[in-house]
Amino acid sequence: MTMHQVPAEDTKPAYNYAYLDEQTKRMIRRALLKAVAVPGYQVPFGSREMPLARGWGTGGIQVTAAIIGPSDALKVIDQGADDTTNAVSIRKFFERTADARTTEATEEATIIQTRHRIPEAPLKSGQVIVYQVPMPEPLRKLEPREAETRKMHAWAEYGLMQVKLYENIARFGEVTTTYDYPVLVNGRYVTAPSPIPKFDNPKMHMSPALQLFGAGREKRIYAIPPHTSVKSLDFEDHPFRIQSWTEPCGLCGAGDSYLDEVVIDDRGARMFVCSDSHYCETRRAEGHRGAMLGDAALTGLVEETKP
């Protein structure tokens, strides 16, 4: 076999299907199976170098590459949006290497790779959501020693995590962690939900979809199988709460979605819009109109969809 094979007319360049070689994919799948068997437990795996900088979603890409097939429909979101650079590049990557059908519709997707959000539309049984995780160890900032954090997980010594929440309440009157809010998976492992806003934490609880987490730089994979309890840590007298906003989405009028604050001029005016771009578009197509949709269409911020 020569190193530089010239591809024949009908074959792809010298890459395996979905970029990774079959042995690597098997290794990742073994790690995934173990992760699913022990919900919330971080399984080490041999993270590979990907054509993408560490910290840009290499963990998520490797997990997706290991599970994707020609019949899958892939959706990639970054901060909830389908049209950001990272999401577009990753989608293109799998279009080229895995012949994948890509989609922006949450309902149609079989695999959703995400950074920082869970889509607003409820996930269904049979869907897989792949999270890109920068920091898989929820205890790391509290306990720098890896050997020690493993012991703490092994023996469920999670008092220290509670001390962190206590400190928040003592200083600020409430838990101020708003993203990567620690959760207890299946009543056993304290787990980092990746930097999703705590608004999305309740969606993980008893979700019918399979949730996979890949941390490429930290070389860890973990999972939350369908219908598994996911409890956000709290105190009995300071129960877990999600964010809320005083106004609905400016474009589609949704009052139940996670909103981004967008500064729209240099005089301090701002608007709130859905961070999930597909959800917002779907609602606008259904005829929902937010208070600022007309202005936004005039300035070219969005294309106004005719109901």
Binding site: K151, A154, W155, E157, G159, L160, Q162, V163, Y166, E167, I169, A170, R171, D234, F235, E236, D237, H238
Partner: protein, 268 residues
């Protein structure tokens, strides 16, 4: 109901809390401590004195479950049956270290979390054992801060903002909040000025008596030993050279080294 024993205390606590037999710890060729044996009874305060390098702290680390001794065993009576703390699983030993006994370090920085507030420091052991009610944890923390004479208004300050003596008292509160039966103290008054030492000693004496704690106090200060301890053990070069009741050892020292030690104390 009939009343049986005439000595109710003896009937309640018929066995030693800690039984140490033949504990030795070596650092390569050198001896850390060698062949140390003693019993500690509930409510008793044992002092370990000796010059620096005599193996006091090594022994304490062995007894407290931090360093496994090379020989000998340490039996701790947590329940009805004595437990060899080095034959139980590490998980169980760590649980005991967090609940059944506590360690007060010489340097408060070793025993406190310096970037966590006083309340969080005191509450940590409660949260370790599963308390999840913020208000109750805070109430207990406040109570304990007051018992170690730290103003309640300092509950949300970090240990960095405390004086050395306050840090030491905070460390004591942090250990005692989980109501341990045994406390190890390594030079609890080291590095504090004399008036602060005196107040700390007063406090320790009151706490130990009130709570019926058993304690092992390592010190090189004979005055501390005299004030706090019931029984004294004198160590030299890793060996125990003399042990007995504190007053007896200090007033009528038998071993040449103990005689040297007691005569070396400055009296003002």
């Amino acid at each position: 109901m009939t009343v049986h024993a005439s000595f109710p205390d003896a009937a309640l606590e018929p066995a030693p809390l800690l039984t140490v037999s033949g504990v030795s710890r070596f650092y390569g060729e050198r001896i850390g401590c060698a062949d140390v044996s003693f019993d500690l009874w509930p409510g008793e305060v044992l002092g370990i004195v000796g010059e620096s390098g005599s193996g006091k702290s090594t022994l304490l680390r062995c007894l407290a479950g931090i360093d496994k001794p090379d020989a000998g065993e340490v039996l701790f009576r947590a329940g009805p049956e004595p437990l060899d703390i080095y034959s139980v699983s590490e998980q169980e030993r760590r649980r005991l270290m967090r609940t059944a006994w506590g360690i007060v370090h010489q340097n408060p920085r070793d025993g406190l979390r310096m970037d966590v507030t006083a309340g969080g420091n005191v509450g940590e052991r409660l949260m370790d054992r599963g308390d999840r009610h913020y208000g109750k944890i805070r109430e207990r923390a406040l109570d304990w801060l007051q018992r170690v004479e730290i103003a309640g208004s300092r509950i949300d300050d970090r240990p960095r903002q405390f004086s050395g003596g306050m840090q030491q008292r905070l460390q004591i509160a942090r250990v005692l909040v989980s109501e341990p039966r045994l406390v190890f103290m390594d030079e609890p008054t080291g590095g504090l000025d004399v008036s602060v030492q005196a107040r700390l000693l007063d406090l320790l004496r009151v706490l130990v008596r009130d709570l019926g704690l058993a304690a092992i106090i390592v010190t090189h200060d004979l005055a501390v030993a005299r004030l706090l301890t019931d029984r004294l053990m004198v160590m030299k070069d890793g060996h125990v050279v003399e042990q007995g009741l504190t007053d007896q050892v200090l007033d009528d020292p038998h071993h040449a080294y103990t005689q040297l030690l007691t005569s070396a104390v400055l009296s003002v």
